[in-house]
Amino acid sequence: MSTSSLPRLQHVCASGLVAAVGVWVAWISYTQQPSEAFLFPRLISTVFVVLALWTFFKALLGWTKVGHGLGTHEMANLLPGLVIALVYVFWAAKALGFYTAGAIAFFILLSLYDPAPHREVRTWVRRAIITAIYLAVMYGLFAKLLKVYTPREILF
């Protein structure tokens, strides 16, 4: 696939998804009962669908001028961080405990995106110190200052 057609295909997919959501919202708004509760959603969803379909057809015809899409290089950079963030939020935070999961996610993300060379012991020590400071600040701020009770589960 040529590089110029990639953003166009991406625009079609993105605007297609938005249009699909718009149609779904309109469908629910016009079919669900009681109708009084869906009066305002009907109004919005009508405008939503019109604008979303307009955007979709513009993308299909290649008229979209705004938005650069996502390049493969950017996607490759983004993906590991995104996966770690999602695992942290949707599983680890509750399963391991907020602070443990937060510290592990912080350390992994820091190591993953830190430009410093991975082979040097000093780099790892520095990362561990930064993570410890981060953990101490977050614990002090949320557990001690704001008294927020977070899920502790296996660890803390």
Binding site: A37, T55, K58, G67, L70, L78, P80, Y88, Y113, P115
Partner: protein, 514 residues
């Protein structure tokens, strides 16, 4: 102090609440917000909107007025703090500081970095104070005027808030308006207020609707985190220019010698701030351009001319106060950061407009007064923390991204101790990141989400009145004020479409010319 106060003169009402700013907690928060805001503002990638959004969970645990003081101070000083990295690193801390980079960084390279910083903070303070004074004197008048508004007018005002930001704040008018529609739809998720019917609850986490704070954090912070991830293992390539010693008295004398730049910057910023949806970036660039046009030394602009720094910084801080006028009177935020502030008001059950000034004058005036004092503090501390702020601006993006992600997760959880809010925050943030890559923007979506309940409540109330009187069409589409508001909605959209077409034609011409 406000105790025992009797209303004597509405124009000077703010003076009665001046002392409240100096209570230990309030003043401490003002200092914290100012210094923290200066440091955050200097950090490229952390926008003022995101900084204020991340602070909202902390305000939830404070008194409403204390929370607003913290948010207001952070808003003011992040805009000014962005000048530090613009001058010393050539990286604008926020879009509002783009114009400052043009002459500020050149001055720094010429060994005049301290002078540029001093002038930027002094000009910011002058512009900011005048902007807040405008807020003080315009707000009560407009809020009294808002008393005449009925449900149909309030409905159109809410729609106006969404369409103005949707069309003016986005690169594509259609995508901006579509973002606003998505926000309005998201606001309807949950149980309907009147019938108690379930609407769009496709996951148990959405049972109580979408929590505004979680949504604000997700929509503004998570896309920034993912943007930093997408850049990969990048080091902070920018080099900090060392600051020399420079007398503050000389900087004050220079500011006084440049009244044209200061006046144009302040007037332009104040005027642009009043127009909902037009941000500090525009204010700074327009003021810079106008000052250059009126200057006899226009050839010096871009080569380290102090007038460029003065005009840009006076403008971007002068717009802060006026951008809150439509917010505090009509619930229409003048900028994305003002939209986040609106969220900060609503979580404490305080509604802008007459409710705010009649039922919570202590909150309204103490907050506004704190912004006035905050300008002075920002000027004093800005000069001292500039060096430190520039060093913080060099913190690697890997650390920044991980810290912001952690703050977003802990912050959104802390509001209601609900994992559902964290899931909503991350889901919205990730979707927003991808939508932004395709030209959608977060500001109108947030506006839709915040103004949606106001629009719906007034639409339903209006429909009931219309059912008993002239019918829906006559109630919502006739009457002078309705027609004026509809005309403004249409005019803002048409103007934005015209601007978009003009910009495209200009870009095409540039491409043809090579």
């Amino acid at each position: 102090m406000s105790i025992g106060y009797e209303r004597r003169d509405i124009d000077l009402e703010f003076l009665y609440y001046f002392g409240d700013v100096f209570s230990p907690v309030s003043f401490g928060l003002l200092l914290l917000g100012t210094i923290g805001g200066l440091l955050l503002g200097a950090t490229p990638g952390l926008s003022p909107t995101m900084a204020v959004a991340l602070l909202i969970p902390f305000t939830f645990h404070l008194q409403p007025v204390q929370g607003l003081i913290l948010l207001g101070a952070a808003y003011t000083s992040t805009v000014a703090g962005g000048a530090v990295s613009a001058i010393l690193l050539k990286i604008p801390g926020a879009p509002a500081n783009i114009a400052t980079t043009l002459d500020g960084h050149t001055m720094a390279k010429q060994g005049k970095g301290a002078r540029a910083l001093q002038l930027s903070f002094l000009a910011s303070a002058v512009g900011g104070v005048i902007g807040v004074l405008l807020l003080i004197f315009l707000t009560p008048v407009l809020s009294q005027w808002a008393l005449a508004f009925g449900p149909s007018h309030l409905f159109w005002l809410a729609i106006l808030g969404v369409t103005v930001i949707g069309s003016l704040d986005s690169a594509s008018v259609v995508k901006g308006l579509l973002s606003g529609c998505i926000g309005l739809w998201l606001a309807t998720i949950g149980f309907d207020d009147i019938m108690g019917a379930q609407r769009f609850i496709f996951h148990p986490a959405l049972g109580g609707g979408i929590n505004i704070i979680a949504a604000l954090i997700g929509l503004f912070a998570i896309p920034q985190v993912l943007t930093m991830f997408a850049k990969g293992r990048t080091s902070s390539a920018a080099e900090v220019i060392e600051v020399e010693k420079h007398s503050i008295k000389d900087a004050i004398r220079e500011l006084v010698r440049r009244p044209r730049a200061l006046t144009i910057g302040t007037v332009t910023g104040s005027f642009i701030g009043l127009i909902p949806g037009v941000g500090g970036q525009i204010a700074g660039l327009v003021a810079y351009d106008q000052t250059k046009k009126f200057s006899p030394e226009r050839e010096k602009f871009g080569k380290g001319h102090s007038e460029g720094v003065i005009a840009a910084e006076a403008a971007n801080n002068a717009m802060v106060g006026p951008s809150l006028v439509p917010l505090l009177t009509l619930s229409i935020p003048g900028s994305p950061t003002a939209a986040v502030l609106l969220g900060g008001l609503l979580i404490h059950g305080i509604f802008p407009g007459t409710d705010l000034f009649d039922n919570h004058p202590d909150v309204a005036w103490t907050f506004i007064n704190s912004m006035l004092i905050g300008q002075v503090l920002m000027c004093i501390f800005g000069l001292y923390v500039a060096g430190l702020a520039a060093r913080i601006a060099q913190v690697p993006q890997s650390v920044m991204a991980a810290v912001v992600l952690g703050l977003a997760v802990f912050g959104s959880y802390s509001v209601q101790s609900s994992m559902g809010d964290v899931y909503v925050m991350v889901t919205l943030g990730v979707i927003m990141y991808f939508l932004e890559r395709f030209g959608f923007s977060a500001a109108p979506l947030v506006l839709g989400l915040i103004l949606g309940p106001i629009a719906e409540a007034n639409f339903i109330q209006g429909s009931m009145i219309a059912g008993a009187t002239d019918g829906l069409g006559a109630y919502f589409l006739t009457g002078t004020l309705n027609i004026v508001l509809i005309a403004v909605v249409i005019a803002s959209i048409l103007y934005s479409v015209w601007m978009e077409l003009r910009t495209r034609r200009y870009i095409s011409k540039e491409e043809i010319m090579g």
